[in-house]
């Protein structure tokens, strides 16, 4: 036996120990090498001139605009379809799209749209008033012969006020409303209402979801499920032919995988760079980091029907106790700004910061708690989700909020739920189960009319709507109703500003932050505009060298 070569026990322990240390240290050792590595090496997988590859956060669920409920899938729709009206670049001001002009009857119950002449769908059929009627009848009428190509979950929420769609002439269409709905015009910018080719829906029926046909700057070519979706330029696009020849979307579900693939050159554009990777992307030569404040708000609902948060002083104290700037800077790494109310600043016409602002002030919080006469310390249950659309870093944020509250004597007991279960819990209401719960919202229509009536409206107290803390203020309810009956945007804006002032004083939520959307592109990409709505718009202006 070659005993002299035998590994002693001590030697073995040493070797294993060294191995463990080395393997643990390997990523750290390699990290500087990665960021220093030349970006886009000899064979960048995606660098075909005229072709752009966009990384998605998941496989799209469908390409039928009416069916979609997730922001990720909606990213493709702007490439293939158009809406009646759209937002101007960089703002929530309306601009013509498939409709060239529009007007409303004095009572607000008739919306009339003049349509753009000479537009054709990708299948060669004409875009006209019949196509608009077909699109909205399919979405809204359960007895429509093509209603079974749905379901269309978002349609009743956005377009529920439409009673009937009438064709006046081939290029004039009229919506007749059941009730006044001043938010409807903004709702026509939404993905749900994108105009589909009637011919294609009739031919493909349910398969339309896999074979989309619209009027947009790019035509659908193929959907290689879970691998890629390929679109090609529509040279006849009414707003100018795209500069690109080809647009490809790839699903990359894991966020680190997405970053890796971007750094390896496999995709040209990724959205939602995680806060921890932003410095890495910014320090990569040949990568461009884009930011755009958006229509997002993140808050903690307080249960206004149960002690201690039925007391407005306690709710205000909670707002003073939470250090929101620390949250946006330390946890979210600057990917968000502090929120002062329920409406995000991106909605410039409806937003105001002239409200009671709750700057971080634990002393003030303690003082308010004393004034409230509530017995200290306070014990409450705090619902926290593990993840969720628009929820940013819900667990870390929940823990930080918990620590801030504990410092003033509010002991929040965190209960964590996975997103699907969380929505169920929150949707049923906080009731006697919880004092606090996290939530967020995306105002993608650029209009508070589609959010506030479901979240801060008395009659929408859960489970009727999504007003989980059951905030009820008759004055706010009345203002919300009247905002739907006023058609002048400035006038509506001032009503929403008034609502913000009342809501800020009532403090039914801890207002936390507004997210800043971000994206990373390689330097070969041009013309990518992040829109405040978080939609991808004006895609015919994209370039790739």
């Amino acid at each position: 036996m070659p005993t002299e070569r035998r590994l002693t026990r001590r030697g073995f322990v040493k070797a294993v120990g060294a191995g463990v240390v080395l393997s643990a240290a390997a990523p750290a050792l390699l990290a500087p090498t990665i960021s220093a590595a030349p970006f886009r090496g000899a064979t960048p997988a995606a660098a075909v001139p005229g072709t752009l590859v966009i990384g998605l956060v998941a496989e799209p669920t469908s390409l039928d605009p009416g069916q979609l409920t997730d922001i990720n899938s909606m990213k493709l729709l702007g490439a293939m379809y158009d809406t009646l009206v759209r937002f101007k670049p960089n703002s929530f001001d309306l601009a013509p799209s498939l409709a060239t002009s529009w007007d409303m009857s004095p009572d607000g119950l008739l919306y009339t749209f003049k349509l753009r002449p000479g537009v054709t769908f990708h299948d060669g059929t004409d875009f006209n008033a019949d196509a608009v009627k077909f699109t909205y009848d399919r979405l809204l009428d359960p007895n429509d012969p093509y209603a079974d190509t749905g379901p269309f979950p978002f349609a009743p929420g956005y377009y529920g006020s439409i009673a009937q769609t009438n064709v006046i002439d081939p290029l004039t269409v009229q919506f007749q409303l059941k009730r006044q709905d001043a938010g409807l015009l903004d709702a026509f910018t939404l993905n749900t209402g994108r105009i589909v080719s009637p011919q294609a829906v009739k031919t493909s029926r349910k398969d339309f979801a896999q074979n989309p046909v619209g009027t947009g700057p790019f035509k659908f070519v193929s959907w290689d499920h879970n691998v890629r979706i390929t679109l090609t330029a529509n040279p006849d696009y009414w707003d100018g032919a795209p500069a690109l020849q080809q647009l490809i979307f790839r699903p990359l579900v894991d966020e680190q995988t997405r970053i890796t693939e971007f750094l390896a050159g496999g995709v040209d554009v990724i959205f939602d760079v995680p806060p921890d990777n932003i410095d890495q992307v910014k320090s990569t030569p040949d990568a461009v980091f884009l930011e755009q404040p958006g229509p997002h708000v993140w808050w903690v609902t307080l249960n206004t029907k149960q002690p201690p948060f039925d007391n407005v002083l306690v709710r205000q104290a909670a707002n003073y106790a939470v250090n929101k700037d620390a949250l946006t800077q330390d946890i979210l790494k600057g990917t968000a700004t502090r929120a002062v109310g329920p409406i995000p600043p991106a909605l410039t016409w409806a937003y105001t910061d002239q409200v009671t602002q709750y700057n971080y002030d634990p002393a003030r919080a303690t003082q308010l708690l004393q004034q409230s006469g509530v017995l200290m310390p306070i014990n409450v249950t705090f619902w926290v989700t593990e993840s969720g659309s628009g929820m940013q870093s819900p667990r870390t944020m929940g823990t930080a909020i918990q620590a801030d509250l504990a410092a003033v004597g509010i002991n929040a007991q965190i209960q964590t739920f996975e997103w699907g279960a969380y929505l169920n819990k929150y949707g049923a209401g906080l009731l006697d189960q919880a004092g606090m719960a996290e939530l967020s919202w995306m105002f993608d229509s650029g209009d508070p009319a589609h959010m506030l009536p479901n979240n801060l409206y008395g009659p929408a107290c859960s489970p009727k709507g999504f007003n989980g803390g059951c905030y009820q203020n008759p004055q706010v309810d009345q203002l919300l109703d009247s905002a739907l009956q006023v058609y002048d945007r400035d006038q509506r804006g001032s009503i929403y500003k008034q609502i913000q002032r009342i809501v800020a004083d009532d403090a039914p939520w801890i207002f936390v932050d507004n997210q800043i959307q971000n994206a990373a592109t390689s330097t070969r990409v041009g013309g990518l505009q992040l829109h405040p709505s978080f939609y991808m718009t004006y895609l015919n202006q994209l370039t790739a060298t």
């Binding site: 070659p2 090496g41 890796t260 479901n454």
Partner: protein
């Protein structure tokens, strides 16, 4: 033997029925609701009720189960709530991707694992043996997703030899060379653990057999070493190896989920995770049933393989 096979097949049916019931009940008992996940914070009770009717979720649970089972017997797994396409189509595509990866990993794990184990056993207690077994121990200890990340850093980000993620490149033609290039890194990451297990097991089995009298007899007869190794040593270690084959194949099919996540591989594991998060009942049920079916069939095949490999079992 026929009777034995019939018994086993009957058992397969019972197992699958139980799995179908279990997965159905568990998905319904899990808090959450596909309609709520779809609508998010936009949900009103009216909209939820509408969607429940469309998806048949307003029916009593036993009615839903019987109707689902009836459709399965007619070969219809239903339609995915989230993906708006037939469950069978989605599951089949995902399963194919997982199968490609699992098969490649199995091929690498078994060919290399048996080779390494045999080499170590035949040179037992030498430096080669210790080196191989230390590497194998390391292999078992490394989390596969970590191996995957390290491989990506080394071969995709620094050396730029191989694509980092995906099954096919976005702009390529999707031909076999494209697929092979994408297969290399995930295959290695997935194969490391089973390879190491097989190598250690093969070594132990071979060592047990190598000193048996019949091996000595074979050598004494003057048989060439290769014949001794293949015909006498390996043949008698195969039962153990096949047992592991069955177990590891199941593990590879179900356990690819980490690797699929790291490499954005469009397989069944990542599909199931997502379907569960979205409460896509038909897709979860169809996916689990398929995985269970394959697992049960692999085990059946393993048992049948025993009979072939070891004649003694045929009369037991």
């Amino acid at each position: 033997m026929q009777r034995y096979l019939l018994q086993r097949l009957a058992l397969v049916v019972v197992v699958l029925l139980s799995v179908s019931l279990l997965v159905f009940v568990v998905t319904r008992l899990t808090p959450g609701d596909p309609a709520r996940v779809m609508l998010g914070p936009r949900a009103t009770d009216e909209q939820l009720a509408q969607l429940h009717v469309i998806y048949g979720l307003d029916q009593p649970i036993h009615v839903q189960y019987v109707s689902w089972l009836g459709h399965i017997l007619r070969g219809d797994l239903g339609e995915s709530i989230q993906l708006h396409r037939p469950v069978l189509t989605e599951v089949a595509e995902r399963f194919r991707a997982t199968l490609v990866l699992a098969f490649a990993a199995m091929l690498v794990a078994f060919s290399t694992g048996i080779g390494v184990g045999l080499a170590a056993a035949l040179r037992a207690n030498t430096l080669l043996d210790r080196l191989l077994m230390s590497v194998a121990l390391l292999g078992i200890s490394l989390p596969p997703f970590w191996v995957g990340l390290i491989l990506i850093i080394a071969f995709s980000l620094i050396l730029r030899w191989l694509p980092a993620t995906g099954m096919l490149s976005a702009t390529g033609d999707g031909g076999p060379p494209d697929l092979l290039a994408h297969l290399v890194l995930p295959t290695i990451s997935l194969a490391v653990v089973p390879l190491a297990v097989i190598a250690r097991l093969t070594r132990a089995n071979v060592l047990e057999v190598v000193n048996q009298l019949y091996v000595r007899t074979a050598r004494a007869k003057g048989l060439p070493p290769l014949v001794v190794v293949l015909g006498h040593i390996m043949r008698n270690t195969l039962i153990g190896t096949v047992t592991i084959l069955g177990l590891e194949a199941g593990w590879l099919l179900a356990g690819t989920v980490y690797i699929e996540t790291v490499f954005a591989w469009p397989g069944l594991g990542s599909m199931l995770v997502n379907a569960i998060l979205q409460r896509d009942y038909p897709l979860v049920q169809g996916g689990v049933l398929l995985v269970a079916g394959v697992y049960v069939l692999i085990n059946l095949a393993t048992d049948i393989l025993y009979l072939y490999l070891d004649p003694r079992l045929r009369y037991a």
